[in-house]
Homo-oligomer: 148 residues x 2
């Protein structure tokens, strides 16, 4: 599955978050080119500050892989990860991250920080941004417009 | 409960992690001066890269509080939080963090980063470091010495 297709799966997940009034952000985790986990933001649903899409997909992927070390994994997420989630990618030692829209408020894979490429940390992660960014941004824009 | 006493509870949690061969790091969460959650690192036990003590204590505290916004909470943790966990404190909007030993490899509350005090982020967290640091460091030192 290529990045464009994987982002399509992440976008489908993002749309599902709206059903429980969560900010529409979705993520999938690929290992060996296959989707092993797909989740969306459940912060409001579960009232859990740690329940961002990326964190949930990392936990699911690790459960499937049977290891916390996800060194062969790619996480594909609709919005640039926040500090917690970029730190989670690092904690899981993932190989690469692909994101859609950039996040000027908290983006930590190149915007405010780049936790994926810091020579002081003992693991670096390949970053690709801007994949289907407009579709991701449109989901977010429609969600926040609907809440006004 | 003062910082010294709360760190005692966190140190007791840290010691429990060793029972399942996890790196001994413990955390408690206080709201209104009372401990509402206490957890330790379960990364190896659960093979979950997100199962650091602070993340578990945030999820538990939010479940108890019934809200992902933990604006009255203080997290007390034996080791300076990593990027994921410092980002988690930010995601949960906690009021303050108290830590024991500093972490030169990944510390993100003042050492490599300070995710708690970045004017670009929309929330700042009061940080107190160095509380019972030697006891925390001794637990870690003994653990890694025992693994050699």
């Amino acid at each position: 599955m290529n990045d464009h297709e994987a982002m399509g799966a992440a976008l489908n997940e993002a749309a599902r978050a709206v059903l429980h009034r969560d900010v529409p952000i979705g993520a999938v985790c690929l290992i060996g080119g296959e989707v092993v986990a797909r989740r969306h933001n459940e912060r409001e649903l579960r009232q859990d500050p740690t329940a961002h899409a990326e964190m949930l997909v990392l936990a699911d992927a690790a459960a499937t892989a049977g290891s916390w070390r996800l060194t062969d994994a790619t996480v594909v997420v609709t919005l640039e990860p926040c500090p917690m989630c970029a730190g989670g990618l690092f904690a899981a030692r993932v190989r690469s991250v692909v994101f859609g829209a950039t996040d000027p408020k908290a983006g930590s894979c190149g915007t405010l920080y780049n936790l994926c490429a810091d020579p002081r940390l003992n693991h670096e992660i390949e970053v690709t941004g801007g994949i289907r960014a407009e579709e991701s941004a449109a989901l977010l824009r429609d969600f926040f417009a609907g809440r006004r």
